[in-house]
């Protein structure tokens, strides 16, 4: 092969500022095998691509090297351009002279120029050993798994189900609804959270295209885009929800009222057999083993007696079911930062000085949502937990955990400024002679109608905002003494409060890391899942066929979570719009003659894409064992190549011959 075209991109100023492009191009033209070398301001633009197409035809190019940015950015672009001119796309390679050269070295230095030429020469050598490849075709299962039944998961499920695709929705709690089901009213329009959410929940429960698994968790995920095999663990509920009619006689009659209610964040007690909240979907009860007298002491059994439908089953066991899907949407949501002193991870140092868990009237914002909610433990009247008195002075503390490096959470939880303003407003609407105080660091109210909303809380509903932190909360004579600072006034502030509400940071839901490891998703140091590209691929992940939405990705409010859920659903629809999938053919293959069958590759393959196989002669006698790659599972990571002692595995597109040739190009 000796007809290679090298196309050098200026990337505007990004590359051109480091080189004399004419000189660089001349140097590259000298490389043996290079038929033509051309530079252009934006090679990825249409005129740039047209240049590539034109040269492929006019110079009868046999391979193309584009010297520009990272192949992550534009390899697909240039391969498509080459394909349009009739060249096999896998005969196109990129030399990254932007991230790996112009961005990181001194412009015009001799060494900088020499490195760029070397990178290009290396790539020219590589492409000499490239082979024309054809994409791998794999079938596509047009069903989707949605993990998490909060508002994001509900939105994604409904969008997909309404567009005609079957959806498997897995929720680990006994009901869908997530955190939003427990909220009072939502900013900035103050519409009632349940009023807008519960119809959507009912829709999910009744949708013919949605298969709902509540009180279930994803046990394992196998396979790959288009062909995932999901095992779901349906946890024992001790109530057969097929038989149960939802009459809830069991709930009415259960004598136990011991356990703190999960839905009310411990503000009330619930029964041993219970429906998490009246609007739950499915509206079917569940038995909590830890508070049920039948389980604890083999007494009672009232529910068993009163159930006309024989739906109570104390011998219920966890069940594993499998589902085949082609795409996965992860919407596992968030949890609150644990405010107490004790933390599961020492990195997240707690706020012992605020007395949360010690003083009953120091509560977190989700608990306050329940106090405000018409369906809450107080029927929507603001009464404090300790004595049920109506608090006349309430202190709200923002950024509890958030933006505090000392507490291990440098990020902003984004929603607290808004809901704190909402809290002051709703409080004022319910307790007209009450006074709300807010301690804040900054007010972050970017969003449609958001800043106006906060101003309304301050100006119309009289919330008093103090810019500063609270150092300590103590209890004296039934009052909470909040000692803080107002840095704008330059003076310490002490408030005798009846109730303190802490706006704790948002953290990803528990168990999300285990799920991420099962699905092979990336996550950041805080456990938030990683998107594929922060701007251009915000709901895609680096695992093909897996999408993320909602607060599992980063702190988000409801409108954003819903928008992102619809975006994820849209991406799944794009995937499903095809008849079959094509995969990149850059996968590993085994030289079965030289394979020693030690199966180190089988043990190390992160995608379980390598199997033990037998080679038999025509009489059917076993000649030898060998490792064999399943090309529809292989992601081309190359771990097998690295681990093979006899170098019997090779990776198409990054073959040993290519790498060797690249090294040869350098020496």
């Amino acid at each position: 092969m000796g007809r290679i075209g090298v196309f050098i991109c200026w990337c505007g100023e990004n590359i051109a500022r480091a080189f004399d492009m004419d000189e660089l191009t001349e140097a590259v033209a000298e490389i043996p095998g290079v038929r033509c070398a051309i530079h252009y301001k934006y090679m990825c633009s249409e005129p740039g691509q047209a240049l590539i197409r034109e040269k492929i035809r006019s110079e009868k190019l046999e391979a193309v090297v584009v010297a520009s940015c990272s192949p992550h950015m534009h390899l697909k672009t240039f391969r498509a351009a080459a394909a349009a001119a009739g060249l096999n796309p896998y005969l196109v390679e990129m030399a990254n002279i932007r991230e790996q050269c112009s961005w990181v070295h001194e412009p015009y230095e001799d060494e900088t120029v020499a490195k760029a030429v070397s990178i290009i020469r290396m790539t020219v050598h590589k492409v000499l050993r490239n082979r024309a490849l054809e994409p791998i075709r794999v079938p596509l299962t047009k069903r989707a798994l949605v993990v998490g039944g909060g508002v994001a998961g509900i939105q994604a499920s409904l969008d997909l189900a309404d567009s005609g695709y079957e959806v498997v929705l897995v929720e680990r709690e006994p009901s869908i609804g997530g955190k939003m089901a427990g909220l009072s009213e939502t900013f900035p329009t103050l519409d009632c959270s349940q009023c807008i959410l519960t119809p959507r929940m009912v829709e999910v429960g009744q949708h013919p295209n949605i298969r709902l698994y509540t009180y279930s968790e994803v046990e394992s995920v196998e396979g790959f885009v288009g062909n995932f095999n999901i095992t779901i663990r349906q946890k024992a509920r001790y109530v057969d929800i097929e038989k149960c009619t939802g009459c809830l006689e069991c709930w009415n009659r259960c004598p136990s009222r011991e356990a703190p209610s999960e839905f009310d964040y411990g503000l009330t007690k619930r029964k041993a057999i219970y429906v998490p909240f009246p609007q739950a979907v499915p509206a079917r009860p569940i038995i909590d083993l830890n508070s049920c007298a039948k389980f604890l002491r083999n007494e009672c059994g009232t529910c068993l007696k009163v159930c006309q439908a024989n739906a109570i089953n104390f011998d219920d066991q966890d069940m594993l079911v499998t589902e085949q899907v082609g795409a996965i949407v992860v919407a596992t949501g968030y949890r609150m930062y644990d405010i107490g002193r004790e933390q599961e991870n020492a990195k997240y140092a707690g706020y012992g000085e605020y007395g949360y868990g010690q003083y009953r009237d120091v509560i977190d914002s989700l608990q306050f949502e329940r106090l405000l909610s018409a369906s809450g433990p107080t029927g929507g009247e603001v009464k404090r937990p300790s004595d049920g008195a109506v608090p006349k002075k309430v202190v709200f503390i923002a950024c509890v955990g958030s933006r505090d490096n000392a507490k291990g959470i440098p990020y902003c939880s984004k929603i607290c400024c808004m809901y704190t303003a909402k809290h002051t407003m709703l409080y004022k609407h319910k307790v007209h002679d009450g006074q709300a105080h807010v301690f804040y660091m900054d007010i972050r109210a970017g969003g449609k109608g958001y800043e106006e909303f906060v101003r309304r809380a301050i100006e119309k509903d009289g919330a008093r905002y103090h810019r500063g932190r609270v150092s300590k909360i103590t209890e004296e004579n039934g009052k909470l003494i909040v000692r803080g600072a107002d840095t704008l006034a330059g003076a310490p502030v002490t408030i005798e409060a009846d109730l303190v509400v802490l706006a704790a940071a948002m953290r990803p839901a528990t168990g999300v890391l285990e799920l991420a490891q099962k699905i092979k998703l990336g996550y950041d140091e805080f456990g938030f899942l990683s998107e594929s590209h922060p701007k251009l691929r915000p709901v895609e992940t680096n695992t093909a066929g897996v999408y993320i939405c909602g607060a599992c990705h980063a702190p988000k409010d409801i409108p954003e979570a819903v928008a992102q859920a619809s975006a994820a659903a849209g991406k799944v629809q794009v995937l499903f719009s095809k008849g079959e999938l094509t995969r990149e053919p850059e996968v590993a293959s085994v030289n079965e003659q030289t394979c020693a069958a030690c199966f180190a590759c089988v043990r190390t393959c992160p995608y379980l894409a390598i199997d033990k196989a037998e080679i038999r002669d025509r009489q059917g006698n076993l000649r030898k064992m060998t490792a064999r790659v399943n090309p529809s599972l292989c992601m081309g990571c190359g771990t097998c190549v690295a681990v093979c002692p006899s170098k019997s595995v090779d990776l198409e597109g990054f073959s040993e011959e290519q790498i060797y040739e690249m090294v040869n190009g350098l020496i």
Binding site: Q593, T594, A600, K612, M625, V643, K647
Partner: protein
């Protein structure tokens, strides 16, 4: 013990329990023990056992020509038996399709082989039968990496000079590879030529590449039988290189090759608790 060994092997061959015994016999050239393959009951008297039975016979188990002889019985010392575990972990042998005769051993060679000083397997583990008793007066074993530790007392410059000297003497006969039980690849990487990964000429540079690559391929796999060093015609002490990697596996992963068939091999097993501190 030789008599006991012969009787057992006669029985095994007569009963058809095995088709071949891989053991030690007397060489006609130098009178020293050499590997022999006994296929007839009448030939079992050729088998011997004494302190000069150095060879690790497990290396023959993976040879096609030996496999063609049928189900084997194999004579192993405690140190040799560790190779069986590695071969089984790496799917090279079917342990249930062979009979392993373990020989209790107080040490081999005169003078004693260096490996015997730190021996802690005088009685082979996991053999199908053991002949002989555990030696009575074996003193406390040396720490396992004593030879290496002593070598590491030298400065890096001295060590480099030492290996440069050793590499200069290597004639690339590959006896070290041929004798090694865990070097079973049908095509060694050094024989690969598209592309050729390793220079095959016997120059200092190419020999360095060979010995370093060979040692790295033994990481977490070498059981320390020392055969590579024993058979080297120019006397290169490859045990030092092997021990260096064995010690790394031991220190970082608490892993000693061939001691436990239940532990997954370190190359290929991944745990979240794996240390990363040594990655620099």
């Amino acid at each position: 013990m030789t008599g006991q060994l012969r009787e057992r092997c006669r029985r095994l061959l007569q009963d058809g329990a095995v088709q071949v015994v891989i053991g030690y016999g007397v060489s006609t050239s130098d009178g020293m023990p050499h590997p022999i393959f006994v296929r007839r009951p009448d030939d079992v008297d050729k088998l011997i056992w004494n302190e000069q039975c150095m060879a690790n016979l497990t290396t023959y188990l993976t040879r096609d020509a030996v496999k063609a002889l049928g189900k084997p019985a194999i004579v192993v010392k405690g140190c040799d038996a560790r190779a069986l575990v590695v071969l089984e972990q790496e799917c090279q042998i079917d342990r249930s399709a062979m009979h392993v005769i373990g020989m209790a051993c107080a040490g081999v060679g005169s003078p004693r082989a260096p490996k015997c000083a730190s021996c802690d397997v005088h009685v082979p583990a996991a053999a199908d039968e053991v002949i002989g008793e555990a030696p009575a007066q074996t003193g406390p074993a040396d720490p396992p990496y004593a030879e290496l530790e002593e070598f590491l007392q030298k400065s890096p410059a001295e060590r480099f000079a030492y290996w440069r000297e050793e590499a200069a003497r290597c004639i690339r006969c590959y006896a070290c590879r041929e004798v090694c039980p865990t070097c079973y690849c049908p095509r060694c990487i050094v024989d690969k030529n598209r592309p050729a990964c390793l220079d095959t000429s016997a120059t200092v540079k190419a020999n360095f590449a060979w010995h370093v690559t060979r040692a790295f391929h033994q990481a977490g796999r070498c059981t320390g039988c020392g055969e590579c060093t024993r058979v080297c015609p120019v006397g290169i002490n490859m045990r030092l290189l092997n021990q260096s990697l064995a010690r790394a596996a031991d220190e970082h992963f608490g892993y000693r090759a061939g001691t436990n068939r239940e532990t997954p091999p370190i190359i290929g097993a991944y745990g979240l608790e794996d240390k990363e501190s040594f990655i620099r």
